[in-house]
Amino acid sequence: MATAPSFDFDGNVDRALADGQLRTNLRRAMDILVEKRRAVFDDTENLQALRSAGNAIKRRALSKLPQLLEKLEKNCEKNGIRVHWAEETQEANRIVLDIVRSHGVAEVVKGKSMVSEEMHLNRYLADHDVEALETDLGEFIIQLNGETPSHIIVPAIHKNKDEVADIFHEKIPDTPYTEDVEALTAIARKVLRKRFAAAKVGVSGVNFAVAETGTLLLVENEGNGRMCTTAPDVHVAVMGLEKVVEKLSDVPPLLRLLTGSATGQLITTYVNMITSPRKEAEKDGPKEVHLVILDNGRSRILADPELRQTLLCIRCGTCLNHCPVYLRIGGHAYGHVYPGPIGKILTPQMEGLDRAGVLALASSLCGACAEVCPVKIPIPSLIRRLRAESYAGGDKKAVPGGGCSRNLTETMIWKGWELVNLMPTANRLSLKAAGLLGGRAPKIGPLRKWTCTRTSPVFARESLHERTKKEGVKDE
């Protein structure tokens, strides 16, 4: 029997679809993001050339992945950045905690990082009496409300300003209720400034790590990323091992693709390139910089020639913005850190098909994600591959939990189908039966999920085979 997924996906979807406010917020947000991207990539030919270049650069990085990671490590260490390796998320969490503890502090300021979400770093630190304060405005809002991001670029995309006004009023002491967005932003600025000034440790993600120079590159608009990586004495950066690129000259095209795809910007307010901790004569900047490089399944994903394309991803989130399923259910319904199309291919590979394979079913395979992906990941093909892997037989499984959906009934049905098509008599009889009974597909049992929302197909009385025999083929 198929293993039950580790979360109630169907329930999540039902609740999301019934949430009118959520759907209104999402519709508005997605329309804006799609339109902004289209405006910034107004030259189609140039965009296609740029996407091909982005794909080639990331493929080249994968083709030399172990070498580039060694080079990145060597150059970072040479520059004074300490490099740590973690096989899985708990190990990465422990490394961060050890660094924080070695400085005797109980709070860190944090810039937005999806890999830290993947690690559930905030929860881990909280369990060990360290407060991790999110400083990106969107992240700050949802952290106040005890939520997680619902979008990998715009974490509070599911909230409107009235909801934010409520959250600030309730959760930040002495804060009057206001729906004025400028006022709300000013409140966050005021609260967080004090924390930036006081923080001893800052945590950030990494958008690209350049092996050639040992440089960590971060993009952002608000300045909180620069604050977290500049004001405290210690900077801890966390990244998935697929973030490495070979050369500094690989950065400009990827950067253009990233900011254009993510938010429709030519460039973000800040592109922050960090190559070393504070040097001898320098007056500010962290005295220590640590880089935690996380595997968490990535080296395994690399092994499969088709599925490894998942690792090309630069986390721009544009596949979410263009996904008809994401648009209707939002990010939380997916029940995991990475929602939308990229989540449908990444999460089952990380968590196992038995636990998260159901995500790969939540697609109409419309192909929009593949059309917009800045590095040309063929997401729909990978979704179909993962669906197939759920039914894979044999001992060799490409994905953890492979074959989890195989079950006796379906295997028997397909075996029967095979026999029917091998034996002419059985074939004739079954076609007859389909013609007579096919119009009455039962709205119960395993077929119900399909038939309860769709018009049943009408079966012809006679098969094409029979009609051809009787009437011949009119050849014009």
Binding site: R59, S63, P66
Partner: protein
């Protein structure tokens, strides 16, 4: 423990023959070559669109413009790097003008001795710019010991002084021309305007955690 993790990760990575991964031969689409005037114009246009104030001045008179701005915006304190290339010009200009000017505050100690003042009572910070990128509209900053990193981040206003002949067509061109790959500094930045957010209902608000205002003085 951690070194064991490293070995195991690399063992798995090396188990895949990554060399067989097909890498398409694709060149990054070239940018149309642009002249100096075009670059200057595009930089001005794009940065202004992102709410940066751009002022064009002569090489010799930029401090006059700065003094006008200081009066207009009523800055009371201006953070500067006394040992920076623009430092001596600033002090000379301040010395020669008798009237009330914002206090020139030198960033001359380490941040550890200066953080409280920096975060609480500085109105504006002024730095040089290493260059600029026309096609996306951003200045390039390489903070130095003379002009530390926080100068362009913490004060509510950041003023960058840029020489017009340091404007490049693209980021790629700037990196190539200045040989970045051979000499990356502690921190390098592209800055396209004042800090901003659109995290609440996509309403664009300027001045989140970084400067609320950005001024670029371009010296021709």
């Amino acid at each position: 423990m951690s070194s064991g993790a490293r070995e195991r990760i690399f063992a798995r990575l090396h188990a895949t023959d990554t060399g067989t991964i097909e890498v398409p031969k694709v060149d990054v689409p070239p940018l149309a070559a642009s002249g100096k005037e075009e670059n200057l114009e595009r930089l001005q246009q794009l940065m202004t669109a992102m709410r940066t104030e751009v002022h064009l001045t002569d090489r010799g008179s930029w401090t006059d413009r700065l003094v006008e701005l200081a009066a207009e915006k009523q800055w009371k304190s201006l953070l500067y790097g006394p040992d920076s290339p623009i430092g001596s010009e600033l002090t000379a200009a301040w010395d020669s003008i008798g009237k009330a000017l914002p206090e020139l505050v030198p960033y001359d100690g380490t941040v550890d001795t200066f953080k409280e003042r920096l975060f609480s009572s500085i109105d504006a910070g002024i730095t040089g710019a290493k260059g600029a990128v026309a096609d996306t509209g951003a200045i390039i900053l390489w903070p130095t010991p003379a002009e530390p990193r926080l100068m362009s981040l913490v004060p509510p206003v950041h003023i960058a002084v840029l020489d017009a002949d340091r404007i490049y067509g693209s980021f790629a061109e700037a990196m190539e021309a200045d040989g970045w790959a051979k000499q990356m500094p502690t921190n390098a930045l592209l800055i396209s305007g004042p800090s901003k957010t659109a995290d609440i209902e996509f309403t664009l608000v300027f001045g989140v955690h970084g400067p609320k205002e950005m001024v670029v003085i371009i010296r021709k």
